[in-house]
Symmetry: C2
Subunit: 450 residues, 2 copies
């Protein structure tokens, strides 16, 4: 199949579809190529019967996420609050305790330790420009170490370090030892701070989309119609005299291209000519995180009757973060447990039945014997997914922002780079995906107008 | 073109050719596919007239490198000593000084600082198993930080840290901020210690190959004959019922495959089925270093007459390490300057003429005005090379050995992994390339015998 168009968009996730939508609204001819047989990228609904769904990919939206919030409204979708009524649980070693509000009842020394670290990090966060993190006054210093080595030097309690580590795992699906301190700071600044990233009420986990977050992509794709071509993994990009993007069975000629996929995957195509060194080496250096989203389905959200919110944090694991992820009406009851970073890497190698048992054992430890009686179990190992290869998104190891950051968004000839990783606001979030697609679309419109 | 064979080897560098050689010696049918129109991978001779060459890739061999040394002998090649007669130079800031032996005349506090750090690191080095670095007693701790954060914490002088930094750049073509401390230690242990890695006399830079190091690969390829197929970049590997390795114009059916290329590049092929998550995520995480090898050619090695060895170390840069790289008879005179890590990344974006001028300016600063009068200038930017994408090889950022190390050599079905990165002795060196190819060949022989 041969197609000619003005702009070819690679990837029908939130970013690519947002880009296509902006371009179409300006009357520009677009073709969107998607490797999968579905749209939505890292958002994915999973049906659980009775027309209800759980989301095995990105799902939350929060205050300050203006682009995704207005897109949801424009598309006629609705949000509802993440369930948070009742007491939360905190597991420290083999001790399980409950608490209300944001702060678990743990050793006050550890709380002070965390508070001091958050204050100190907060001051650092505000000095890092999210569009050019390498220009922070102390960028070189902060990009020369990991979050782990920073907390080891600046925090005094093991539990305090462990709590910051949990935050790191929850936000990047990577360990504190994976992530550059500068990346941690830039990312937090793009999202109004670490507290906002890890909070439910008033934070990034505040709301969910009725019908599931994949509806956002599905609704955009419906608007776009048959310009969205599924099941066509791109393999090769020629961008010499002419721009030609080819898959196994399609060839698209275009004037401009937007690549709305994660940098690691974008680095795997065949480019003719080969990409410049700075871009190529960047794609070798920002790996995707590791997360397995695990959900147990119950007839009822029985924990609610016990006065529990279903939200849990554990420093023991393997499941370290749990949410009540039931549909808006609370039927069925759904417990969502995350395996992140090293836990995802390790349990990702287990058999499906071993993993299921381990998750249900964790839930049972947290919520009592009823949790063992799941009527269904759903999981998604994002690193196994050929067209994603890790979630939530890419993180920057040390010395990557400073050495290669300026190659992240710089267009190469007719090729423009989108995707949540390239956002300067809510980097890595659904909101960032949308704004990155819109930014790439405006770059293209600017180039087309020349 | 269609071929059937028993073993297909991907990559005709030292590793792939060594593997093919072992297999052929056992009477096994082999086809070697090479993307380039030449063999040798990261070794590459560059003719400079009169039948003489300089090497723009890997070139040195040293004591303890038994595999490459015996291969050189078997192939009828010879080695000669790296030129080291006379005084070495050391540039600290804007001060240039000369010294004899291994230790520059610098502030004794800095020397003590370096000596203490080397002693301390040396003790750590010996606890890291080179085949399984993640099993070192303190692996998790050491893999949670960079070399930069370790030296900042454990070294007291700026110059001392800078010298360890120089060693890091010289060995990995990466900055101390790039490299995991655990990787630093494992790599040193695979090579009899840091001192051996950075030394000329008695170390990894002791000897050179007469006629240039690429002769090793060329001689092996000549022995192998027409089973080495050039100009065939591999694109796709099917390894379900049948193993089929395809390039743009060739399809090879085989029982087993050996991939003798760097992990980042191996991660870019299309695998059917997709690779397991642990292998795929590993390939997202071990980027290649950044080096530009720059050589100025002079009628005479004029520095020798001034009693200089041509060896220099500078903490100012951009050229921080220089060698006399003249042919065995010293005619013409060749100065070799390295741009490594961040210097390579930055100067790699300059125009060729700007870069040449900068290098000659550095040489002139070091060796006087005669150095400005080069009759020729040769350089190789390895990150620009489509089939290499960075040298000297891959390095491990933090939390990569511990999280993904066991996926480095583990075969996947009929696919075996070779290449200098997979060596347990002289990791990343020509010696490691040879031993890794031989190890992969013996894995294959074992599988074929089952």
């Amino acid at each position: 199949m041969e197609r000619s168009t003005t702009v070819v968009v690679v990837g029908a996730g939130l970013s690519g579809l947002s880009a296509a939508r902006v371009l179409r609204a300006q009357g520009v001819d677009v073709v969107v190529l998607e490797a999968r047989d579905r749209v939505g990228g890292r958002t994915l609904n999973h049906p659980i019967g009775d027309g209800k769904v759980v989301e095995v990919g990105g799902q939350w939206v929060g205050p300050g996420q203006e682009r995704i919030q207005s897109l949801i409204k424009e598309l006629g979708l609705e949000t509802f609050d993440t369930y948070g009524t009742g007491k939360n649980l905190f597991e420290h070693g083999d001790r399980l305790s409950s608490y209300r509000g944001a702060i678990p009842r743990v050793n006050p020394l550890a709380l002070v330790d965390v508070q001091l670290a958050m204050t100190r990090l907060g001051r650092m966060v505000r000095t890092v420009p999210t569009d050019e993190p390498w220009k922070a006054p102390k960028a070189t210093l902060w990009d020369s170490e990991t979050v782990a080595s920073w907390t080891r030097r600046h925090m005094r309690t093991r539990l305090g370090r462990s709590l910051i580590g949990l935050a790191c795992e929850a936000v990047w699906a990577a360990d504190p030892a994976d992530v550059s301190l500068l990346h941690f700071l830039a990312y937090c600044n793009s999202a109004d701070g670490l507290e906002s990233l890890i909070s439910t009420d008033g934070g990034a986990q505040q709301s969910r989309v009725v019908g599931g977050s994949q509806q956002i992509a599905v609704a955009m794709a419906e608007e776009l119609g048959d310009i969205v071509i599924l099941g066509e993994p791109v393999r090769r990009i020629a961008y010499g005299d002419e721009l030609i993007v080819s898959g196994d069975s399609i060839t698209v000629r275009a004037a401009q291209a937007i690549f709305a996929i994660s940098p690691a995957l974008a680095g795997r195509f065949i480019y003719e000519p080969a990409l410049p060194a700075s871009r190529d080496q960047l794609t070798q250096r920002i790996p995707n995180g590791s997360v397995i989203k695990c959900m147990a389905i119950y007839d009822e959200p029985f924990w609610r009757d016990a006065g529990l919110s279903g939200q849990l944090t554990s420093d023991r694991g393997p499941v370290k973060v749990v949410f009540d992820n039931s549909p808006p009406d609370g039927r069925p009851g759904v417990l969502l447990g995350f395996l992140e970073g090293n836990q995802a890497r390790e349990l990702g190698r287990w058999s499906a039945s071993e993993r299921r048992q381990c998750i249900l054992d964790c839930f049972t430890r947290f919520f009592g014997p009823k949790a063992a009686q799941a009527r269904d179990y759903v999981e998604k190992i994002w690193a196994d997914d050929e067209w994603t290869r890790g979630c939530y998104g890419a993180f920057f190891p040390p010395n990557t922002w400073t050495a290669f950051g300026d190659a992240l968004r710089a267009p190469i000839g007719p090729i423009h780079w989108a995707g949540a990783e390239t956002a300067t606001r809510w980097m890595g979030y659904m909101d960032g995906a949308v704004s990155s697609g819109e930014r790439a679309a405006s770059e293209v419109l600017h180039d087309l107008a020349r």
